[in-house]
Symmetry: C2
Subunit: 171 residues, 2 copies
């Protein structure tokens, strides 16, 4: 293995960011209820892991203000934002005092928060949190879901939101 | 906790799929070199987990023909596809005999495969594979990366590819 030396290599943060800036992500708001009430943050890192049984995952950066809430939460709701909800995405990505102010929500029987207007949501029970240098990769078992209005979703890439539509679709 | 009974709940596969069909994903081709040569598959599940140190993750469904290769691989390359590469995405998602036939590639010093025309790529060393009912959530340490042509990326949602552009961008 002439390659052994490379196992000590680690890509620099700037080179890594440069590639992921070009990788598009569907935009969701992850909500959780903490000791101080509902909290939420915009995430472009939600992925399906297993369909049957249904599991999803998402990451929370070490520097995120929402990390502590996710560290302590039992459950989360992933709200998939529509192309018309870039204002909601921006709100839940900004350092606002109360991100929920003026946002229409529905409360599930267990107290979990669903954002109105999302194209769909999935509620999950957190089963694993993998700590990677302070960042968290969270694995949740899906327990409940519903669809919202039928609409194209919001996408984020290179510091900008994009609106999918019939015009962006390839045939 | 009146909610305890629900911790046994599991969302049905069809309800789960219905929400994730509406969740857009940036499109990548993940390549790895197996005992039978280069292999690759189209993935919409690649996410950044940590920036410094640089780690990413992706999932491989239990039913994927690429699962065995990823189970055995030491490393992978994530190739982020451009909006012009929907043909490449379709090729690496189809049950083709040789997905690399006619595809322009570059070979890294360690033998890893980069697809020409990708807007960027990251090479990673697999550090963890989390098995969830046969599906894998893979965590890799990023060791090398580069950018390709400057272009908007390809996105997948609801069984269709979408091309991001200046026209889809919100201001």
């Amino acid at each position: 293995m002439t390659d052994d030396a490379r196992t000590d290599e680690q890509l620099g943060a700037e080179d890594f960011r440069a590639v992921f800036r070009r990788h598009a992500g569907g935009v969701a708001v992850v909500t959780a209820v903490g000791p101080d009430g509902p909290r939420g943050f915009t995430a472009t890192s939600v992925v399906s892991v297993s369909v049957d049984p249904a599991y999803f995952a998402f990451s929370v950066n070490a520097t995120s203000s929402s990390r502590a809430v996710i560290e302590a939460a039992d459950g989360v709701v992933v709200n998939v934002l529509s192309a018309a909800q870039s204002d909601v995405a921006a709100r839940f990505a900004a350092p606002a005092q109360d991100r929920f102010a003026g946002i229409a929500t529905e409360v599930l029987p267990g107290g979990e928060i669903v954002l109105s207007g999302a194209v769909g949501w999935v509620q999950g029970r957190i089963e694993q949190r993998i700590d990677i240098a302070g960042s968290l990769l969270v694995i949740a078992r899906a327990v409940r879901a519903d669809l919202g209005p039928r609409a194209f979703p919001l996408v984020y890439v290179d510091h900008a939101y994009h609106r999918l539509s019939e015009d962006s679709r390839l045939r």
